[in-house]
Amino acid sequence: MSLQASAVESGGQPGPGEDVPEKKGASGGGFRTRATDLLSGSAGRNLGLVIALLLLCLIGLITAGDRFANVDNMMTVLRLASVIGVVSVGMTFVITGGGIDLSVGAIVALASVWATTLATQTMASDVHWILMVSTALAVGAGCGLVNGLLIAYGRMAAFIVTLAMLAAARGLAELIADKKTQVVTVGPFLDFFRGSLLGIPRLVIIFALVAVAGWVLLNRTAYGRRTLAVGGNPEAARLAGINVKRHQTSLYVLLGVACGIAAVMLMARTTAGTSTHGTLYELDAIAAVVIGGTLLSGGRGTIVGTVFGVLIFTTLTNVFTLNNLDTSTQAVAKGAIIVIAVLLQQRVAARSTPG
């Protein structure tokens, strides 16, 4: 008896708005064991991603050998992944809650510029670098709040609101920075964030902390549960007593704060704040989230998947670079690999479901 049979029948694409329960996610009735449960659960869903990542590493190992497989290179990949990773974790919440945010890159830029103005930096060197961090977080949260209020209480489409924010925040960043790159001069700030702990760069540690906090928040708290409900069926959530609007707003604020953190990390990494920071982060973050298995239509989200999604994209670029592939060929290969990775993930997920 084929397991695929049921999957073949669904006519609709798994696109936005679909509310048919996913067949691959459904698990068996009476004869389910703990092990298959795990498999068909999050691990099963992520197995495809793990395989894709391993394959990628294998390719890296074969084609670039030691240059790929050394601690330094691994740390480079992780460090590169960490900034967009933090944004993607935040994005996972917004998408799981049924929203979308195109303004993340612009918010990162605005936060980085605001936190590196002469005024802020002077104050920060007088008092403490924490001032710069708070500025970035506050700017991020503020932008997120505006997004959230317009979307939830103003009943506007998230796509449009955040597109407007994308334009406005980047424009504002340019105005503040006067289109110049603002160099970070606060030594202690750089020392702290550019340092390592036990050989692991602090940026990577921050990413890890954000990812773990995100995982706990989504999977182990009432907040996460509400996020899933709001994304899965907002009307049902409302009738079950969840304050849907407030919750949606909070999701955008959360993502705004993540953007603020990312801005701080980027400032440390590049020792500068500029209005060009975070360019195209919106696409990268959404891509990582979606490739990780979070449904773009909301109601199902996975932080582990998102982290894998980010790692896959970053490793891909790293392997390409180590192999000296030219940009155009890289782009073509990247397109093909994304499709293959997702197909792989689907097949594995289908296979790991008990029948």
Partner: protein, 325 residues
Amino acid sequence: TSNTPAEESNGGGDDGGTTAVSANDDPGETVTIGFSGPEADHGWLAAINSAAREEADKYEDIEFDIAEGTNDPSAQIAHIESFISKGVDAIVLLPTDGAALTEAATEAMQAGIPVVNVDREFSNEFAARVTILGDNYGMGVSAGTYACQLVEENDLGDAVIAEIAGIDSLPLTQDRSQGFEDALAECGQDVDRRVAAEFTVESGESAASNLLQAANEIDIIWNHDDDQGVGVKAAFENADRDEFFFIGGAGSANAMRWIEAGEMEATVLYPPTQAADGIRLARLLAQDKGLSDLVQVEVPRRIVLNAPVVTADNVEQYMPLGFES
């Protein structure tokens, strides 16, 4: 270490100027040179990349490690970091953002790897062994000065001068505009209309189309970039307007041909050979050689390329420098 007899065919030939005087092109010990630049998403940058690549190919003692072009400073920093960990002998770096890459370059220098900074300058002079700059400010000045000259020659009085900039958020665009403005001020002129495009043909066309509507009569238009110039020129044709002097920037082969054909007044050169020069210098640095062409024995710290104006009078001379975009 080299025992290949093929050196002549590789090194010499097409670029006679330097090889004649110096022994620097003789093969030395093999060195690895890392190169990183922005994404070649536009003609001038593509020319930079291919010139660098070709230059490296000429020397068989160069092992060329070219990193994927990227517009994300964070990713470019990663490139530098991986160059450092690979232990390359020298790095040629055209930063997406000079300030943002200063720290990474400094680290490379501290690791004993000479860094050649190309085109966009670092914020700290210890971050590079050599800095080769196309002069963006100078480019604006050249364009402005030439515009002043046109005003005078044609007796334009208070001329209507328009500027079509490139990506506005880039510091280099700001430098060019500043230079243009300063030079115009010298002869009592100013920029009446300014629009910004995005270094692409399409954005050039739409920016120019809107610009032409903004003023019925324009005397001089300076367009920062000849690559977007293809679109700018199409917009002129679409609107059927040609009452103005059209000055370009960068100096693509297209622009040179237009000048020859009389369809363009002039273009301000911004040579895409900087990276190629950077490769040469990096090789010399890595092999501990000097610049035997100069009196000075050492490779200099700072080279600023000139931004000459190409007009119908001298276009023939500059034609070989024009890059196909």
